[in-house]
Symmetry: D5
Subunit: 89 residues, 10 copies
């Protein structure tokens, strides 16, 4: 298994309809909860005061990593920086 | 309690309806006044000539800091840089 | 307690004497091991192929965080980006 | 009187002789303390974990501001961003 | 009195209605002419080939400077960099 | 096995002794030739006119990738950007 | 024949109609498959987790390279960095 | 006469109506052809694979240079970097 | 005659011998005074708090401008951004 | 034959011995004159006021282009940006 550090900034259009925004955020929250359950999402931290989060994901390979991220409902609005990690603790 | 320096650039769409803009700015001004009253907002400076401001906020923890900023009416239009501060004077 | 995400790029001078370099790296490694033992260092990941690491540190306050980093033997050679974190998991 | 926000990153050469470094830092600390006493230095915050500080300085004019900064012993090693401030609180 | 150097890039939406654009530009031109008359605008240069201009403004203080710029009809479309100047000639 | 795209800019000090430089380059060339033989180095392209190269490396995991790069004689002089790749062709 | 390394980031508008998006992606996929068949597209890698790809293209000359890219259905949405390559392997 | 190097990136909105786009490009092409005929446009190169071009323009003065560029039909969509040139060959 | 706006950041090595530094600064000051006398230097402003200055220079042509700057004693330490100006006032 | 636009910034160490500097510049000047004679160097422009130049080079292929640049005496001090050009005029 390989681990990846993802620095993710969400850039939802400021003028987005509030209900559409809430729906996106809720579906995305559930998606991440699912990844926690499967063990794919090892860690999740959200920055204080910014629309910025750090995920540590684990997957068998790089194709798997892409699916974990591309299947997020918020994916079209995300700026993602992926760093391949050497085993940490 | 912890202190945070926030560098905040407001990026309201140039073509925004003037009344909608004025309403956002007024609600946000009142929100900040409220933070002054509760003691959460220690200092506020606005740059001359630019849509740029510096806030020094105090909160019990990082979650609290996020709420102080995320609850601002202008939050969707703000680019925020947060710096955790060592006690100054 | 507060948690912090630190993105750290080590920039040791390329022409540094190999023995001096090795000594710095070893003393720094021991320092980090110590932080693990005290519980201050929650997580440490190193990027593959780059002189880049991610630490998640926990300290009672911001002053404590500064000491955790400033006392690292490598501190003069480090470019550090600190992000205050909302509780994650 | 005018107020200025200064974002200041100190970049002392990593290989600087420790005693020379300590002497610079101490003389600079005393200089800033002097500015506090004269009322020129209204606020000083240091970032946690980075060689970064924020000062709010007050001076009769721009020439005065320059002297306040240029007379700092550390001035040759400082990267300074000055922002002219509208009165805050 | 204090002097300020302002580097200003105008970013009007490319698809803006030509008449609306012309009206904005004309009202802004008149506004600047007014500042020349009052002595607030000391110098104005426009770059060749780019939507870029340099103004040197003089005002009693920083609040005054902000008004000089914020009252420009084009203000919502302007990216402004303000530099506080030491007396030049 | 996983594949990685590495964008690598070599920044040898301009004033380096020519013989030392030639030795570094030759040892590094041999190291890369060895990686070709083991199958770890799938592709190597060098930009025309710049000290820039692109490598596609294959390794069992991220730790292996790090060793492939960190063991290069030129490693202390290299600015490396690693991108984890989904299988291409 | 000359070889070129292309770093390509696709920036489709987040609010694009899903069917229009799918059609663009499918037509572009077929276009690239065609380039593989003609031998113009030597290699294609897609980054894991980001809308980023690396192509190595071969063409008789620079005009040919431009056509290979400009004829992609996604071309208006692509940010392309082209690097002329010295023969690699 | 003075010579200028212009690095110009065209940023037409991706969703622009194809006929409107073609009309803009054709009118701009004719405009540049006109500048060739008058001798104002000394050289024109277009990058392979990117919406990037380099022009070398000659004009009696800076005001003239501005008109040469500002009168281009595509001017509202152009990001222009102008460099004043010392006589080359 | 043509006018040019020059944004100039002086980057003298921090460890430079104080006497050498003072000599450079004095010779450069005298050089600029000479340009004032010849009418080549129309305006000179120095930023407050930063090693940054703005010059407006006038010369018959671009070659002349280069000599005005390249002959400054500080030229090897200067980062210069030149903007060709349309006549201002 | 293929044409290339090269944007080249020379970064000679400010403290370089004047005679060494003059020798480098003279040998480099002669090298470029040689390229003019062979027809490889089609155009050369130097920016006014900055250590910046633009070359248009022609070579049979990318390997040839690299040699034209790498053989310049100043090559170790040059930051080069190469753009492959479609035929211009």
């Amino acid at each position: 298994m390989a681990q990846f550090h993802c620095r993710i900034r969400a850039e939802l259009p400021a003028g987005m309809d509030p209900e559409v925004r809430a729906d996106f955020l809720e579906r995305d929250r559930l998606h991440l909860a699912g990844l926690r359950d499967t063990g794919a999402l090892l860690h999740e931290w959200r920055a204080a005061g910014e629309q910025l989060e750090f995920l540590v994901l684990e997957s068998a390979g790089h194709e798997g990593l892409h699916e974990l991220l591309a299947e997020r409902p918020l994916f079209p609005f995300l700026r993602v920086e992926v760093t391949a990690l050497r085993p940490g603790f």
